[in-house]
Amino acid sequence: MGKGFSVLRADQERIVLIIAAVLFLAAAIFLPGFLEPSNLIAIIRSISVLGILAAGMAIVIIGRGIDLSAVAVMAMSVAWYLQMLGTRSPDWMALLYAVAAVLAIGLINGFLVAYADVPAIFVTLASGSFVFGFVRSQLINQDAIAVPPEHWIERLGRLRIEGIPSEVFIFFGITCIAFIFLRYTKWGRYVYYAGDNPVTARNSGIPVRPMLVLRYIISALTAFIAGLLTASSLLSINTRVVNSTLLYDIILVVVIGGIGLSGGKGSMRNVIVGALLIGIMLNVMTILDIPNIYQNLIKSTILLIAIIIDGLMNPRDEQTAQQGDI
């Protein structure tokens, strides 16, 4: 039984890729303006940012966790960084502060999940809103913070290599690093073992808890990078994004891509195909000028269906046990 599903799973990547291609072609034919260079650049930019966020989330989810604080960390860390630029301290000092804060949030998330045994979903939900509330009320004085002119973030946003925006290369680089990490390093393999069965992993001598902390730190760092890239393309960071549906888009990318929420399976390839499909879909909906509330309805319906299918294909332990016993 399980085998039939795993054949399907291997194919899920291909199915998603085909759907993305079909959607792209259909939009290219029927949507005026879709193939405009400016629009294509907007698409790959949004795919890149979404993909980077999803790469961090994927590492956490493969290890049977979830990080709901990703968007808050992304927006608030960059907002604080930009705020510091305007007030005091040299650039490198501000960057250092921001990175230290990001690491601290990842560390606290990881510590609470790993050592205090609080479920990840609650820890990160709470820490996300804490970060948002604290930074917004104490450290910055307006919703949106602009990037100062001629700052390196702005130059990064303008940087084109062979006409391709720099985000794409950064996204590519991050997925490559994540791919190598997951596949060819000891710590990366530990992610899969801990995701499949944390008790067995612990008993085998795998350092389960330190690795958990590491994953939340990685997730926070990738969120920070995604925030810098967002700021570089929009020339400002708007903290209201924390209350948008971006978080669900990230989870949608991960689940649609084929990474099971029950942990232990999936790779960076899944993240790339998921980001392609969702990035194109979001752009198409924007060009079609579908009102936001309907966009949300469509996205949440797709997420719901994806989660249901995921639940059927990756049943939790008891059911797999029954199926496997021939």
């Binding site: 390093t185 710590w187 899969y192 992993a201 008993n203 332990d317």
Partner: protein, 499 residues
């Protein structure tokens, strides 16, 4: 007499591989019928088809003279066929009475009412279980009683048991079979799957033996004997049974270095002032009934549990005092624990054999290198797969799809690949087929001959008697007595374990 269940030419295939083929089987009213066979012989599949948990690919089933084909366990239960699984399906946080009446609560539910009727019902069955007790507080035997009570309550005419005695103590087993006899008197037909041949020979009316998905023979228990049964099960003659009970002093391995000494360790109420030593180059058998603290003691040694911080006693590895906080420290010191509960803490179920074996390598790796060499690891994993003779349909098969014996070998291999000095086997042959039992025993012997300290926890006396070089008996959280297998008898060991 017209049989209550008759199955004709039943076949079940999983992805083209036949789990059972063309099985004919019949169950008479009011008989106790034992199903024997190695793991993977198809016993579970056959009984699951009867109980509606699995649908047959082809073939016919007649029940009470009518053709039936159940599509769900619930349908079979309503028709009067109940199955009691090895892992019980009771709800631990509810009371006995609530579990018995599960699924038929009235909308307005008064607990007092169901306690009274459950009390009467349990008494009519002669079961000594308190209806208000929470299931999680009950032992394995009582849980089984509750399952049986639930089946009888549903007016089951057929009750199927999957390895009912695997987790019971000898005393509980006696009760269990007395209970089967009472059920039989009420006219209930019983099928039970077993690995213990003696049980089947003594308590069953008829025995059916299966091998590799095919029916081998069905005969009244009186016409069979142990040798004949084993021969039919494995399809080969075992010149001697695996369990050689006559040990002489010359055969025993001499103790090597004293590698582990445990003094006065305690953990809560499970382990109390426990002291003993383990030596290299021999097999130390640890016998104890369930709940005697034997598993907990060795989980402390291997870092899975933590002993009391105050007055927890001391453990020395060689000369060095140790107190582990995580199993990783024990693994790095060369102590490996092979669990009795492979599914929940032994293997990674959705991963392949190679990936499982590699987990052991990666976990024990102390080189400090972060990168890994996949090719070397695959080669090592393949080496262990063939050394332990682990068989699967194909190399990408998930561990959960293997037979019990092969799963156990994966768990053992995952530990041995870490090159331990002390290996603790907890019930190494539970739920393992006869062929694999012999291989695992052979392996433990080889490890001891190579100079490792081997600890074998078992509740199966013949296993303890025939393999151990020393026997420790555990009772109420501590080792109470030590025997040499030369002068130990099953009676002496059991006496020490119980009194």
């Amino acid at each position: 007499m017209e049989p209550i269940i008759r199955m004709q030419k039943v076949t079940k295939t999983y992805r083209g591989v036949a789990a059972i083929r063309d099985i004919d089987f019949d169950l008479q009213p009011g008989e106790i019928h034992a199903l024997l066979g190695e793991n993977g012989a198809g016993k579970s599949t056959l009984t699951k088809i009867m109980a509606g948990a699995v649908e047959a690919t082809s073939g016919a089933m007649t029940y009470l003279g009518r053709k039936v084909s159940f599509t769900s366990p619930n349908e079979a239960l309503l028709a009067g066929i109940a199955m009691v699984f090895q892992e019980t399906s009771l709800i631990p946080s509810m009371t006995v009475a609530q579990n018995i009446y599960l699924g038929e609560e009235k909308f307005l539910n008064r607990l007092r009412g169901i306690y009274i009727s459950a009390q009467q019902f349990l008494q009519s069955l002669n079961f000594s279980v308190e209806p208000t007790a929470l299931v999680e507080t009950l032992g394995a035997a009582k849980r089984q009683m509750v399952e049986i009570a639930r089946a009888v309550h549903h007016d089951a005419k057929v009750i199927i048991f999957d390895e009912p005695t695997a987790t019971l103590t000898p005393e509980e087993k006696r009760h269990f079979f007395a209970l089967l006899a009472r059920l039989k008197k009420r006219g209930v037909s019983i099928v039970f799957i077993s690995h213990a041949l003696e049980e089947a020979l003594t308590h069953a009316d008829r025995i059916t033996i299966m091998r590799d998905g095919a029916h081998v023979l069905t005969a009244p228990a009186g016409e069979l004997n142990r040798d004949l049964v084993i021969r039919s099960m494995v399809g080969r003659t075992l010149s001697d049974t695996i369990y050689n009970r006559n040990r002489v002093a010359a055969d025993l391995r001499k103790p090597g270095e004293k590698i582990l000494s445990v003094e006065d360790i305690s953990m809560g109420s499970m382990v109390r002032n426990n002291s003993f030593s383990i030596f290299t180059g021999q097999i130390t058998g640890v016998f104890g009934l369930i709940g005697s603290g034997r598993t907990e003691t060795f989980k402390i040694v291997s870092g899975i549990y933590k002993r009391n911080f105050l007055r927890g006693g001391e453990i020395r590895l060689g000369e060095r005092q140790i107190r582990y906080y995580v199993p990783r420290e024990a693994v790095q010191d060369g102590i490996v624990y092979v669990t009795e509960d492979r599914k929940s803490e032994g293997f990674f179920e959705t991963m392949s054999i190679a990936e499982n074996l590699m987990s052991g390598l990666l976990a024990a790796d102390r080189s400090g290198k972060i990168g890994i060499n996949m090719r070397d690891m695959r080669k090592l994993a393949a080496g262990w797969t063939s050394r332990l003779n682990i068989r699967a349909i194909n190399e990408n098969a998930r561990v959960v799809e293997l037979s019990g014996g092969n799963q156990q070998k994966v768990v053992i291999g995952k530990g041995l690949i870490q090159q331990p000095r002390i290996v603790i086997f907890d019930e190494p042959t539970r739920g393992v087929d006869v062929g694999a039992i012999a291989e695992i025993h052979q392996l433990m012997t080889e490890l001891a001959d190579q100079g490792l300290a081997v600890v074998m926890i078992s509740s199966y006396l013949p296993e303890i008697m025939s393999l151990s070089d020393r026997i420790l008996v555990c009772r109420q959280g501590r080792i109470v007595e030590e025997f040499s297998p030369v002068d130990a008898t099953e009676e002496k060991i059991m006496y020490a374990a119980v009194h």
